[in-house]
Symmetry: C2
Subunit: 220 residues, 2 copies
DNA sequence: ACCTGAACACCGTTCAAGT
DNA sequence: ACCTGAACACCGTTCAAGT
């Protein structure tokens, strides 16, 4: 009845899932550019070369992380109910999608590839909105276009915002004044950049798209 | 009357402008990720270390390239005429802006920073469109928002498109069929990804924004 | 004044070797 | 079976040295 001699284990054994979760953690915290095989190894208390036992190369790591996020989106679900109007449903979908974008701002570039798999992996997320659009009188084609345009709008806006938020070297007040004398309306626009930052334009921009869709809806 | 002895020169002397133009050339041809100080040196028949005589570091190279493109945009001018309607002018502006995006797809990320300087450097490009919007009855604020929303829409769409265009591992027909059985409308959407690729959605999406703006215009 | 060679601290990845 | 050390070909950048 000697208990089996278990070697004291310093750490959990490496596996694909643990590696990918650590990679997502690193990306969320420090950005995609900071992800290196050596750092990822260090995060897991392992030499970088050990990772190659479980994943063929760095690209495979990045793709694995992307799939992890797709799965997360599928879990989400806009609070769309049956009686909800099509525009409220579309808005809820856009907000939820934006939510997941903002949880992983550094990983957004990964959303741009394998779009068909992204929609398929998160079909439970998209289907209610599409149903409500078709119920409101849009054709299946127009409903698909509407959802795709909205998803593209949110994703690309977030991508742009995530690309850079800082303006390291802003125009001085004198420069803005001089611009305003030469081109008054562009001067006004540049001043508006300060009072209304990019983030405050995303909802108005989205509202324009919805208004455009409404104008296009066959009168009931 | 001895002619001054001119040492035979293997190459033009290095200067900031020549370096930046070579960098833009490399970015346009091979992408931002492929730009390295060593490659840039090689392109100019010089050791990488020589570049540091003219530019403090790699970031300065990248910022210099961005300014080069801003200047290029300022030269452009939408063919807006006085009698043109506001929506035709806005559309022309969007098309011209998209044109410059497509000339430097690999450099698009650089557009996301120093937005105020970008508008100021290209004010001659934006002012006519803004004038036409205000002439049509939009307030200065609404005109500024309209232009900013459109510029953001075009830039972010192009950014998303440039991020990745390939789908290395597309869904098989069986996978799409199975999806269609479970979620018919998402299935339809995924099928539409093939018949109507992303590029064909940019103009409809932009048309929705214009339609939304029109709905918002105070009735004359 | 302008360019370079050697060096440092980083990459991703391969491969033979350790346990 | 799983992990590692040494090595290779790359980075950006510094600094003392060459012309």
């Amino acid at each position: 009845m000697v208990p089996p001699a278990i070697a004291p284990r310093r750490r959990a054994p490496l596996d694909r899932r643990r590696i990918l979760e650590a990679a997502l953690r690193l990306i969320d915290e420090h950005g995609l550019a900071e992800l290196s095989m050596r750092r990822l190894g260090a995060e897991l208390d392992v030499q970088a070369m050990s990772l190659y036992r479980h994943l063929p190369n760095k690209q495979a790591v990045v793709e694995g992380v992307r799939d992890l996020i797709f799965t997360e989106l599928a879990q989400l679900r806009p609070a769309a109910t049956e009686e909800e109007s099509w525009d409220a449903g579309l808005t809820a979908m856009a907000r939820a999608f934006r939510g997941i974008c903002r949880r992983h701002p550094h990983a957004l570039v990964l959303f741009a590839t394998d779009v068909d798999r992204a929609y398929a992996a998160s079909s439970s997320f998209y289907e209610p909105t599409l149903t409500s659009l078709v119920g409101a009188g849009f054709t299946e084609d127009d409903a698909a276009d509407a959802v795709r345009i909205v998803v593209r709008y949110v994703l690309s806006s977030e991508l742009l915002t995530a690309a850079v938020t800082t303006t390291p070297n802003p125009l001085t007040n004198e420069e803005v004044t001089r611009l305003g004398e030469q081109r008054p309306l562009t001067g006004h626009l540049v001043r508006s950049l300060r009072t209304r930052p990019p983030a405050t334009l995303e909802d108005p921009g989205f509202a324009l798209i919805v208004a455009g869709l409404r104008a296009r809806l066959p009168s009931r």
